[in-house]
């Protein structure tokens, strides 16, 4: 229970929210009472709207992130392992790294329209860079002694890559993926707010434009909660995967 007691300040904020709106300190137009928001959220959940839009959002984020992890890891490790790849790709990665990824929203929409494809492409392009950098740094930081001893024991280059370099790079790759996970939610929600016909971000914009603010707040809180839970689950997974290290 000590773990939950830690979150007491959140409960205090919730109570303050409810009290301030009920007492009329804040206009309920600007901030609907928390209880109304929860009720609206329950209604959305019961009607199935929330689940349908959440499924479409999570599919986009999941597919984009999975592709970004595969491509990013492969590119990062290849850059660390083969000099020609590094010479070719390093300046390009350096060039794309500081690009504000949200600038890609209009072009992915131009290419693939307003559906799933454009969101997935946006997330792949945006989330690839942190994974690539993590994989590159991790694979480069691999101890040469380990590589040499594996080689001297007759392991082939590919074998060394798979059995020595990749496990060594794993912590940094996983850290890069964590950054990518957070980024994927940001890109997903903003692209859905701007150009979409389904998804949680679209729902927020749609409900807000219709003036049903209690429902809009409910979806905003759902998105926030999903992002938070995804990060927590990922951290648990990371501890599991890296348990062999210590």
């Amino acid at each position: 229970m000590g773990g939950l007691a830690r979150y007491a300040p959140l409960v205090i904020l919730g109570v303050l929210w409810e009290a301030a709106t009920r007492a009329g300190l804040v206009s309920t137009l600007a901030l609907p009472p928390l209880s109304d928001v929860l009720r609206a959220g329950w209604e959305l959940a019961r009607s199935g709207d929330l689940a349908a839009n959440a499924a479409s959002s999570l599919y986009r984020a999941g597919a984009g992130l999975a592709l970004a992890v595969v491509v990013g890891t492969a590119l990062g490790v290849a850059m660390a392992w083969w000099r020609p790849v590094r010479l070719l790709a390093a300046p390009l990665v350096e060039l794309f790294y500081p690009v504000p990824k949200s600038a890609l929203i209009p072009v992915t929409a131009l290419w693939l329209g307003f559906g799933d494809g454009s969101k997935i492409l946006l997330i792949v392009l945006g989330c690839m860079i942190p994974v690539t950098l993590g994989a590159f740094n991790g694979a480069r930081g691999c101890e040469q002694v380990l590589v040499w001893s594996a080689r001297s024991m007759g392991a082939s280059r590919l074998r060394v890559l798979w059995d020595v370099v990749l496990p060594n790079a794993l912590p940094e790759i996983l850290n890069g993926v964590r950054t990518a996970l957070a980024l994927s939610f940001v890109l997903l929600v903003s692209s859905e707010l701007i150009v979409a016909r389904a998804g949680l971000g679209y729902m927020i914009g749609f409900l807000g434009a219709g003036g049903t603010y209690d429902a809009m707040f409910a979806v905003v809180l759902t998105v926030a909660l999903l992002g938070f839970l995804a990060d927590r689950l990922y951290q648990l997974l990371m501890q599991r995967v890296l348990a062999w290290r210590e």
Binding site: P100, A182, V186
Partner: protein, 261 residues
Amino acid sequence: MARIGPILASLTRWSPVLALVLAWEALARSGIVTPFMLPSFVAVARRIGADTASGELLLNLGQTLYRALAGFGIAAAAGIALGVLVARYRPVRWFFDPLISVGFPMPKIAFLPVIALWLGYQDVSKITMIVFDSIFPVLTATIAGTAGVDKALLWSARSLGVGSRRILWEIVLPAALPEILTGLQVALPIALIVAIIAEMTMGGAGLGGAMMTAMRFADSPGVFAGIVETALAGYGVMQIMALVRRRLLVWHAEVLAPAAA
């Protein structure tokens, strides 16, 4: 003549970028993709030239940078101040620690319509959104940095009778500076990303607004010009930040030993 070497070296280093541009141009001209999907690089460069000549680029760039940097500045000042308070005072830590751990991984951009509802569609709401989003890395970096200060330094300063305010300014903050700067380096691109998103959703010109207009009119050279412009702006701002880091940490071992960056 002695200067030719470095120029040649940087030319070879950046040649993949040149190759990318050439590949872009070749692909656009080959007819495999329509000019709508990928306008030629020359057309995009010409558009950027026209935007520069008409002053539109400067105006939009100024708007975006103003919003991003104002938000970043507020987030930096408030984040460092709050971070020091959280690290120092128990009640502050009790209240903010759970909020930070919940708020950091949360996609705060979802609150954009809420902030627009409260503050309207002007710069205030855009800057507020940028502060809300970019304050978290500064906060966590400041807390980690100030908590990690060598205790021996604090004890010796205290035993010499140094006041707590001077300890903060002369020992804690300088010692935490590398980590704080890392936090700022994470926060800066976030500020730019959010500035562009806010401009795309709320309008009000800027590079994001201009790209949105171009997209609505199916003006693909305009969209690609916007991407190149934002990319250059992002690159420039990050380079300046890296320079500031090197300047501020001249005394630090990190700068003395050339890191592989």
